[in-house]
């Protein structure tokens, strides 16, 4: 499975105060000729300079600068005044903004995760100094920056040559025991592998015997999506963590998963052996953190693309829902696209009109983007259903109001015909009715069970009754019906 590739080549990270040096073109100087498409080979060709590696001291320095939460926001806003205006009609500029906000563009430092980074670094360095093995467990919801931190680690350990890294995504293993062969495969000690023992046994032998070569490196094992190693007897997970408890073990294990209590639930034995893994929890991002991260991404662009209030609105909404950074980026890009269509649409009519002042992503764009992301399509679909299907949905809503949660098709048909009769609409026949129920089942509005006889199929509602009432409230007939 793909490991996360190198970072995008935005120009060197500058500290906030030095922004004024930034001039027009956001891309590197070699991009002189205007090109419609940014070619991937440009990024691939240019080699990252050594400044890119984040030594711990520099990380700490950066952390100090960025530590003050509210003060930094203000200095950022001050600096925004000094930036030039953004022209959304310019393709290159639009592309630059979109790329800065794409999920695959990894920032060069991790913002808002300094604490977690520090703890993990301390742990690894501690293990290395004492030449002891250890295990670390990183947990958190999706989209909170766990794999991102591991990626920064990759860079980090390049600065420390005495660590050998094995990085595995456990979802890509066909069998859970393959993880041991993956670990072993990276660690050729020159000893001939004995054909009859499994990779696990070989590893156990390896870690229990004294090494001939004294200059052995410590091994860093990073296991991503570790909950896929959980089998019924939990052997594989246990053995993996037990590798760190063997007397002469030299491996540092870092496991990444979503469940907070994985270590407690699935590895109770470790507690008794007093080698529970250290747990670092990545909490979901709060509103301030999201705003900081967004500004960090946009800080290198020499123009203002987003109104600050729009960013705040987006951060507030998403942090209240899930705190997932990927969703934030997706919503911002969606807002950009709305602005782009708006701008491009007006260009077609009158190309003579000069670019209006401060064209950037404003609150209404962001509101539209948020609505598009968070709105469920159920209400729209119910409103656009043909009339008979709406009557069926309405009768289902009435039928399942009480405690009874499912009925047969025949009973629903009776209700449907009552409603039709009360309003002088000719009801559809039973075959047509069952067809319409199947269509609604396909769409996920009703749930139809299997039965041999059409009339005995059990129907239940998949959609909330409040949604149905909301969707049909414009039509007086249904309003009366649902009373």
């Amino acid at each position: 499975m793909p490991t996360i590739a190198g970072p995008s080549l935005s120009p060197h990270k500058r500290i906030v105060a030095a922004r004024s040096e930034n001039t027009g073109c956001p891309r590197s100087a070699e991009d002189i000729t205007p090109r419609k498409r940014k070619l991937r080979s440009d990024s691939a060709a240019a080699v990252p300079t050594p400044i890119k590696w984040k030594s711990p001291r520099r990380c700490a320095l950066m952390a100090e600068v960025e530590e003050e939460p509210n003060g930094m926001l203000e200095t950022q806003f001050d600096c925004l005044d000094g930036k030039s205006k953004w022209n959304p009609r310019d393709d290159d500029q639009m592309k630059a903004v979109k790329e800065a906000l794409h999920v695959s563009t990894a920032p060069s430092t991790v913002v808002c995760r300094e604490d977690e980074q520090r703890r993990a670094l301390e742990f690894v360095k501690g293990c290395m100094e004492q030449n002891k093995a250890g295990s670390l467990y990183i947990c958190g919801c999706p989209g909170t920056g766990k794999s991102l931190l591991m990626f920064v680690y990759e860079f980090f350990q390049e600065g420390l040559p005495c660590l050998e890294t094995v990085s595995v995504n456990c979802m890509s293993l066909t069998k859970t025991t393959d993880i041991f062969s993956k670990v072993l495969g990276e660690n050729e000690t020159g000893k001939k592998a004995i054909g009859s023992s499994t990779p696990l046994e070989q590893l156990q032998i390896l870690f229990s015997q004294k090494q001939q070569s004294s200059s052995s490196k410590m091994m860093l094992i990073i296991a991503d999506e570790m909950d896929y190693l959980i089998t019924r007897d939990r052997r594989v997970l246990h053995e993996l963590f037990m590798l760190t408890t063997l007397p002469l073990s030299r491996c540092i294990l870092i496991g990444v998963a979503n469940a907070i209590d994985l270590a407690d639930r699935f590895l109770p034995k470790l507690k008794s052996l007093n080698c529970k893994p250290l747990v670092v929890t990545f909490r979901a991002y709060s509103m301030q953190q999201i705003v900081r991260i967004l500004q960090e991404r946009l800080v290198e662009l020499p123009y203002v693309a987003f109104q600050p209030k729009a960013l705040e609105l987006c951060a507030r909404k998403v942090s209240a829902a899930s705190g997932d950074m990927r969703k934030v980026l997706s919503v911002c890009r969606s807002a950009l696209e709305i602005l782009e269509t708006e701008v491009k649409g007006s260009t077609d009519e009158e190309p003579q009109i000069p670019v209006p002042e401060d064209q950037m992503v404003k609150m209404d764009h962001m509101v539209a983007a948020l609505a598009k992301t968070f709105k469920s399509p159920v209400v729209d679909t119910i409103q656009s259903l043909p009339q008979h299907q709406q009557i069926i949905v309405c009768s289902a809503a009435k039928a399942f109001r009480g405690s009874k949660k499912d009925r047969t098709t025949a009973e629903l048909n009776n209700l449907y015909m009552e409603i039709c009769k009360s309003s002088m609409i000719t009801p559809a026949g039973i075959t047509e009715f069952t067809n319409m129920c199947t269509v609604l089942n396909d769409q996920g509005i009703l749930k139809l069970s299997q039965a041999r006889n059409d009339k005995l199929k059990r129907v239940s509602l998949r959609v909330d009754e409040a949604d149905i009432t909301f969707a049909l409230k414009e039509i007086r007939f249904f309003r009366n019906c649902l009373l």
Binding site: S104, E337, D380, P386, G429
Partner: protein, 417 residues
């Protein structure tokens, strides 16, 4: 002669148009607000800017999702001839991981003229796919993954979706994942990790509005003026079409039809049937064609069965219904006969037949599946003693009898009491 020839040619032309999704959905997608332009905008920006995207197309079956996607892909293949690779997967066939990876590898091999080995293992396939994604990303080729029946992929194991979407999170790949599903909550079915990686763009395919339907009808049914038809015929034909579509009766018919099923596909089926019943002598469409099409599409088979019954069979049905009304939970032929006798005694009807004749009528009804055995056990019992039940509802019986050619009035009265 000549007229019939041109009528046939016109018929073929129109029927060809109806069966070709491009000519149907192209006029529907003209405006800049349509789903076609939205989809095209998203996919083309992904191609030109080289960024990854994922999108979901939702809508009831037959609303044109796959057709619009085909239009978009066809356009893009013309505009960017070498930079687009298309991979198609279907949730009904490829929801299992092994199958899916094999299919992706096979299609990639076909597109790039490489040799595909059926013996390749799962690991080899996945490594090949990752390598191809990287290569295509470096060569600025976009791969478009089309996942039909996306909800089946979402409900099956997560490996395929996770690996595709995870590959798209890296900078080296250039891919677009388009999911097509008829379930509105398709993205809620995804596992939380996969849902986080999926960008929540959804395009909803709603049924067309009245204006769109009117313009579509006109576009589909009018003959072009510059073709090989005699010009008088063309203008006559188009004139007739205009008359029909502006007729209120036609509008009512269309409304009744759309009240039951409003997707584009069903509308096309309706028009196809109407056009196929065109009178070849006159060479012109008429309102009758549409009426026959509507009635053939909205058939009620049980109703027709009742309408074709003989009087005795109707008596049997009415007796069974009366027994049901009297709350007799199960009845058989003997009880029906008793009821029949009671009716005859109280009303002195003229139709009183012997038991074996009635039994034959009974058997006819059972063969036509208007009635059936209540349970499948008791195969050894004689026909007369096995419990029976009605397969049609009271209202269907009522309606059928009312539209029956010669149903005696007494039966209708009996049914009501």
């Amino acid at each position: 002669m000549g007229k019939e020839n041109s009528a046939e040619k016109a018929l073929n032309l129109i029927r060809g148009r109806l069966c070709d999704p491009t000519s149907v959905f192209r006029p529907l997608s003209g405006s800049s607000d349509s789903n076609f332009s939205k989809l095209k905008f998203i996919v083309s920006t992904s191609i030109t800017e080289g960024c990854n995207n994922s999108i979901l197309l939702l809508g009831p079956r037959g609303s044109g999702k796959a057709a619009v996607l085909d239009l978009v892909v066809g356009d893009l293949m013309e505009e960017y001839p070498d930079s687009v690779t298309l991979i198609r997967l279907n949730g009904l066939l490829h929801s299992e991981d092994n199958c899916a990876f094999k299919e992706i590898a096979r299609q990639l091999c076909m597109e790039h003229h490489l040799l595909f080995s059926k013996m390749a293992s799962f690991d080899e396939n996945s490594q090949f796919i990752i390598a191809m994604l990287r290569e295509c990303g470096l060569a600025h080729k976009t791969i478009i993954f089309v996942l039909d029946e996306f909800d089946m992929f979402a409900q099956a194991s997560d490996l395929l979706l996770y690996s595709l979407l995870d590959a798209m999170q890296s900078v080296t790949s250039q891919a677009v994942v388009v999911g097509i599903s008829s379930r509105l909550d398709a993205d809620q079915l995804l596992e939380k990790r996969v849902r986080s990686r999926f960008s929540h763009r959804k395009i909803l395919f709603l049924p067309p509005s009245r204006e769109e339907i009117d313009s579509l009808l006109e576009h589909l049914l009018s003959l072009p003026a510059d073709s090989s038809f005699p010009s008088g015929y063309v203008s006559q034909f188009n004139e007739k079409i205009k008359n029909i579509t502006s007729d209120t009766r036609f509008k009512d018919m269309l409304k009744t039809f759309l009240n039951a099923n409003s997707t584009v596909n069903s509308l096309l089926k309706f028009i196809f049937r109407a056009v196929s019943s065109m009178n070849l002598e006159s060479g012109l469409l008429s309102l009758e064609n549409f009426k026959t099409a509507l009635s053939s599409m909205q058939r009620q088979p049980k109703l027709e069965a009742v309408r074709d019954c003989s009087i005795l069979e109707l008596y049997v049905l009415v007796c069974m219904r009366r027994l049901e009304v009297k709350e007799q939970s199960s009845y058989n032929f003997i009880s029906v006969m008793k009821e029949y006798k009671t009716i005859h005694d109280s009303f002195q009807t003229s139709d009183y037949y012997a038991q074996n004749v009635c039994l034959r009528a009974f058997e006819h009804l059972r063969e036509r599946e208007v009635i059936c055995y209540a349970e499948n056990r008791g195969q050894s019992q004689a026909v007369e003693y096995r419990p029976m039940k009605l397969l049609i509802s009271a209202s269907e019986l009522h309606q059928g009898m009312r539209s029956h050619a010669c149903c005696p009035a007494i039966l209708l009265k009996l049914l009501d009491h």
